[in-house]
Amino acid sequence: MNQFAFESKQKIFLLGAMGLGVVCMVLTFLVDDPLHTRFWSNFLHNSVFFTGIAFVSLFVLAAFTTAYSGWHTLVKRIWETYSLFLIPGLILMGVIILGIWGHFHHLYHWADPAAVAEDEILQGKSAFLNKNWYTIGTVVILGIWAYFAWRMHRISVQEDLQGTSDFSHHRRYRYWSAAFLPVGAFTSAALIWQWVMSIDAHWYSTLFAWYATASWFVAAMALTILTVIFLKALGYMEEVSTNHLHDLGKYAFAFSIFWTYLWFSQYMLIWYGNVGEETIYFRERLDHYPTMFYGNLILNFVAPFFILMRNDTKRKFGTMVLTSIILLLGHWWDFFLMIKPGVYHTAQEVLGHGAHGGGETGHDAAGHAASTFHAGFTMPGLLELGTFIGFLALFLYFVFNRLEKVSLIPPNDPYLAESKHHTVWPY
């Protein structure tokens, strides 16, 4: 079966899940502080996470195509449709932008003119951290990415319909792929700085953009594995074998280690340098978010490292489903930890409560203890989980909707035969 049918049963299920997400978001909005910080930070967190998965899917597709990879042909449609989510991603980030202009939220300290007026460091950064750049950067860059995604998808579909033996479609596809690599590499950093790093507006790290991208990468692989297994369970993609699963698993494994490598590099260098302006980022997280901090490493390093190290685990559907769920949630957790502490800090300042952790404010022991747990910030609560499920359902609904319109297996891809006979183990 090469033609996916998006059944109404599945649609209803996903719409239900989206409904759950909406209910959770409404509830969050109602129980929130006056600034609706929890609601908006959840919105930003999930928008960034899923838009990033779409971006990485396009980047992976471009990289594999440029590198003459053949094995992924049977699963490339999944990445093509994932990458189309950049278009809804633009809308989601557009809501954040509207929020900045309309002062609906206080996610970004630098977007508050009063705060900037009395903050020398923010003034120094204001040439980059301002509403105009945030808007232009997001719209233009996401627009370019979405254009690439749309364009490559279109060439791929044309190849299905009118592919010829001279591989002209594939060659065009390869041109666009190669062109996207530098475009994606240069521009993604700018967006990550604006979307995520600027939440901790004083803080900076040159590695941050690559770190966040690695996190997206693993999340995208995990979601890909889940989608492939789901489609196989429905009887589609029969030719996708344990060999393809094995290779997807290798990517999940390798990039989990790569993510850890970047995590360690960033953490270790900042710890070793011991410069207060830099260490504050981790000090805050270690003191007030210890579960998130250590949990991040357990979910995203310890678990995949030990589970995926062996050859056979990467070839078992059950194990791969479990590991992929851990990794998908794990990197969502990672972005939670990147986003929430800074947002909370900003909100507390705006609300005039003074932020925790400020040395000279002198919390008394009791007061400090009372303020250590903040629903929706210290740890993801049920509302966060519900919101995540809602966004995931939106993502999948969009993906399946697009997937239905094309052949699951690209029949005229020049590497199709290689992919069908792909064998990695035993050699």
Binding site: T66, Y68, G70, E120, I121, G124, K125, F128, S165, F167, H170, A178, L181, P182, A185, F186, A189, W193, H202, Y204, S205, T206, L207, F208, A209, W210, K250, I257, Y261, L262, S265, Q266, M268, L269, I270, Y272, G273, N274, V275, E277, P414, Y415, A417, E418, K420, H421, H422, T423, V424, Y427
Partner: protein, 470 residues
Amino acid sequence: MSAPVSAIRDPLIEGGKTYHDITEDICSPTEKTPNLAWIIAFIISASALAFYVFCVAWTVWQGIGSWNLNRTINWGWDITNFVWWVGIGHAGTLISAILLLFRQKWRTGVNRAAEAMTIFAVMCAGQFPLIHMGRLWLAFFIFPYPNTRGPLWVNFNSPLLWDVFAISTYFTVSLLFWYTGLVPDLATVRDRARGLRKKIYNFVSFGWTGAAKHWQRWESLSLVLAGLATPLVLSVHTIVSFDFATSVIPGWHTTIFPPYFVAGAIFSGFAMVQTLMVITRKVLNLQEYITLEHIESMNKVILLTGTMVGVAYLTELFIAWYSGYIYEQFAFYNRVLGPYYWSYIGMMSCNVLSPQIFWFRKMRRSIFVTFIMSIFVNIGMWFERFVIISSTLARDYLPTSWSYYTPTWVEIGLFIGTLGLFFTLYLVFTRLAPVVAVAEVKSILKTAGDQYVGNGAQAQAGTVEQKEVH
């Protein structure tokens, strides 16, 4: 039946080779008297090596004062050369380990020479920290073992010590990897030899018979070593970057250093592989094994890693401004517009701008352009380390101690001397062992030989059919 190969792939072995042709073509250079080009190259390299020995002796006799390092700029050409050589020593293990895991067939044409080059480059790199000690005979102080030197004990908190372990581990694993790959090929040379030569090659090939069990173990060992070497490719230059990044010196203390150093290392390593391969394939007549396809693939890696390094340069510049930290901002202002502006220009133009010509297929497949570019990249990556090290140190916190540094003839001699060491070893290697992995090239013949895949294959198949009809 071998796995199907897409018709869009170009062949990696040209000339319709048989297994016997492969053995003959690759092994025969080790059996003949060297040609004139080799002899001239060897005389030049060995002379440079001799000059190296002289410069080391001079440094030891006269002391480190014979270099132009000063109070402000206490690291100069020595560490620049060290990092440059270590970086070059990255391509071999990347090709042999990571590309093996990725099942990239084109690696078989170049992996042997690249691994050899890696080992020689790491040997050259290792010279500099040793010479910099001034008293070479005390080099054993770097090993942590119970001793009678009282409080003189290595500092485990220092990335310089981590470097000792990282590089020696890397060297060991790379050597094992290279030698493991060599064993079947040395046996092939042995089988063609007679007399003493046969005895020697029999000894170094560990009595390899080509039994199925041997191959099975050989394959397993290769994969295990690839798995071990893959993290090493990243860890070595990561730890070299820690030498700088763990400090709090503006321009050095930046978190992007580890992955960016690794990308730069692979970049420079591939450039050196290109330099050597372009010459080797010509001199040893191996154009049908190290084809334009190989050269183009490596040029793509150079374009990729050069652009990654470019992203890192711009990230550093941007974040230096973004940080709002005046010392960081000054460090980068000084890099770009300070007294060493020319080295920044050299770095940017050689590493980031010039590789962009490889966007054009014609350029990627031009031997001449490839050779010139490989030299450019080698120069550019040397400048990168010089920019990071000397130009940063030249302008510290205290303007009264600002200084300028130019090397003495001894420092230049040491650098040229290690080039001599490197090329001498490489030239000897081309005489002793097959420069292309015979067994591995044979393993891809049926899926990458031009009589089996690519446009020519159909034409040849056509002629065969026609012949049969007649």
